[in-house]
Amino acid sequence: MGLWFSLFTVVILVLFVFMGVGVVGLNSLFGIVIPYAALLVFLVGVVYRVGKWARAPVPFRIPTTCGQQKSHPWIKANNLESPYNTLGVIVRMALEVLLFRSLFRNTRAELRDGPRVVYGGTKWLWLAGLAFHWSFLLILIRHLRFFTEPIPFFVNLFESMDGLFEIGVPTLYMTDIIILLAVTYLFLRRVVIPQIRYISLAADYFPLFLILGVVLSGVLMRHFYKVDIFKVKELATGLFSFHPVVTEGIGLAFYIHLFLVCTLLAYFPFSKLMHMGGVFLSPTRNLANNNRMRRHVNPWNYPVKVHTYEEYEDEFREKMKAVGLPVEKE
């Protein structure tokens, strides 16, 4: 259900642009108003969501330790998997955010006759995830050539690296191919692996289709349905410098691309895509395993009803005395 709904929604979004720009000619709506609105929703939404998490305290220090603690000087502590200081936490987080450390650990349990269970390493999810996220980032950086004037030096650097093989005119970008493959894999595993299919919601398929739509429309307009990129840049820099201009004759493919991106931006803060911000706040990862070295303070630590020693002794005093246990009150 979620799958078809999501696919249907993305198709509707595309048709919407066909109607809006192609038929009715609402270029300024799709070229100016919607992008501004989407960006605003994105920025405000992300800050709001992170702010909401930040307002909730972290009452306890609950890191998941994945390695040796720091105890004796002669036992090698694992500062990356069980960090005992801030540096360790930073490196652990960096490994998590940049290289998906935890996903790299992934295994697959398989039930065999006997009965036996065996575990095999499986790195495909890690690889596809990493390929997808890094491609996305590089593609985003590459897009700065449309957003900035003059273009910062590093944009050209990434671009020439990305188009290293100089296949075709215009050059085929490696990241375009990689992200297409990665998104396709991430989609297929959701459909093919029964367990993943069972847990998948519309909220899982929709961003996949949306991103697939963004990538496809981008690739198509670069290589097949040419648009006037001079005007695209005019529009983009106009938007980013708050002097928006409506330009005619860019080409429908661009508007489809732009509208899908806007949808992604506006959808982002309300969706699981917020894991981008959330991963930094996860208490099982971003806290040091130094619990017994440094006290962690719980801001709402309230007094609770306990059973005091006095109450205990009052109940058992005679029995304690009978066996010679010392008591406070005779």
Partner: protein, 128 residues
């Protein structure tokens, strides 16, 4: 325990990165700059329509190169039936005699680095 300082710093860094194009353009760059390029031409009409040329000239030139270098065929028949000699230097640049204003400005603007000039020599009079 509530590491608000860290989170606020994180949010600010995030916002700075996301809004990079805005402040870069407004503060450091040439806000909403569009290069003016001059179309200098002897003929009234290019080999194909302006719209076609703006979007697809790179493909056309690529096809020409392949045709000339690999097949030895030098004649291009345009959509309107006119025939042209497939030559960057003689056909294109003959008409558009201002490479710096015509080609480069636009290419630089959208950061395109065509490989034309790796082989072709820029004709005299076309240099800056």
């Amino acid at each position: 325990m509530n590491n608000r300082g860290m989170i606020i710093a994180g949010i600010i860094i995030f916002l700075c990165m996301i809004t990079f194009p805005i402040w870069y353009n407004v503060v450091g760059g040439k806000a909403a700059y569009t290069p003016e390029f001059k179309i200098v031409s002897k003929e009234k009409q290019c080999v194909e329509s302006t719209k076609y040329m703006r979007a697809k000239h790179m493909q056309l030139l690529n096809d020409w190169r392949n045709s000339v270098v690999r097949d030895g065929k030098r004649t291009y028949t345009a959509l309107d039936g006119k025939k042209y000699d497939m030559s960057l230097s003689n056909t294109c640049l003959n008409c558009h005699s201002n490479k710096a204003d015509f080609c480069d400005k636009c290419h630089n603007y959208v950061e395109v680095t065509p490989t034309c000039w790796n082989c072709h020599v820029v004709p005299e009079g076309n240099k800056l």
